[in-house]
């Protein structure tokens, strides 16, 4: 009964993990922009790695009976979960610093110029919000939300600030 359950669960985890991994690979080829490809790579690095590692953990403990292997798999998962988002963040910031402009859904650039991308990457988030808060295009959106717009809410929308600017 137990081995049957482990077999079923391992198959399910391996299939879901393989789906995540192949989806990320297809996205790497087909998506139009560096920043969207970053998303596709992150799907593989987090979703695929987590699910596949859990399948390996199950197999190592219940089928191989190898506790050391299970510990090593969980260490690999632990380090991957730390390093993959850090590498993605560093890559996105480095791309912004070098003037890579993100593209919108219709293929139009979301920023006005490469200098805008560099400014976005070099200015601290808090200073950026203070500067953009009285901007006419963003003010109604802030008022439309709940009156108590905390700094957390403003900080969360900080990365999407340039899009209203481009549409004006």
């Amino acid at each position: 009964m137990l081995e049957w359950l482990v077999w079923l669960l391992s198959w399910a985890l391996v299939l879901v993990g393989s789906l995540f991994i192949v989806a990320g690979g297809v996205g790497m080829v087909r998506l139009p922009d560096l920043y969207t490809r970053l998303h596709a790579a992150s799907v593989t690095d987090t979703g695929g790695a987590i699910v596949l590692s859990f399948a390996l953990l199950l197999q190592a403990v219940f089928v191989f009976g190898n506790t050391i292997a299970a510990i090593k798999v969980s260490l690999i998962l632990f380090f991957t979960l730390f390093t993959a988002p850090t590498a993605s963040h560093a890559l996105a910031k480095s791309a912004l610093l070098s003037g890579q402009v993100p593209l919108g859904a219709g293929g139009e650039p979301l920023l006005e110029s490469p200098e805008e991308a560099v400014r976005l990457a070099t200015t601290p988030v808090g200073a950026d919000d203070d500067e953009d808060a009285p901007h006419p295009s963003t003010a109604p959106a802030i008022d439309g939300g709940a009156g108590a717009d905390s700094t957390g809410g403003a900080r969360r929308s900080g990365s999407e600030d340039p899009s209203p600017d481009a549409s004006v």
């Binding site: 690979g25 790497m28 970053l38 690095d45 695929g48 390996l56 590498a87 610093l97 890579q100």
Partner: protein, 93 residues
């Protein structure tokens, strides 16, 4: 079971390699190399279980760490004039 995961990983590695070769900018190639390294880690781990000898996990563990260090080192090299300095080269733009 592990054969399915191995095939999925190999297919994705081919697709990632295609992006690394075709990528229009430096950062596309760097992203592809980083993603390829992560998939290599998973492939080594899965292949150990496929052959019934999960002894390659040490190699996968070391490769996971080296892959991250390599990516960050190359990024810092292209982001800064001098990899030892902390001053952004804003004047170049």
């Amino acid at each position: 079971m592990f054969a399915v995961a191995t095939i999925a990983l190999l297919v994705t590695m081919v697709l990632t390699l295609a992006r690394a070769l075709a990528g229009p900018t430096l950062f596309d190639r760097l992203l592809a190399v980083n993603s390829f390294g992560t998939k290599t880690v998973l492939l080594i781990a899965v292949f150990g279980f496929l052959t019934g000898r999960p002894d390659f996990l040490d190699i996968a563990l070391v490769y996971a760490l080296i892959n991250f260090l390599g990516t960050v080192a190359v990024l810092k090299f292209f982001e800064l004039d001098d990899p030892g300095s902390v001053v952004y080269r804003e004047d170049d733009y």
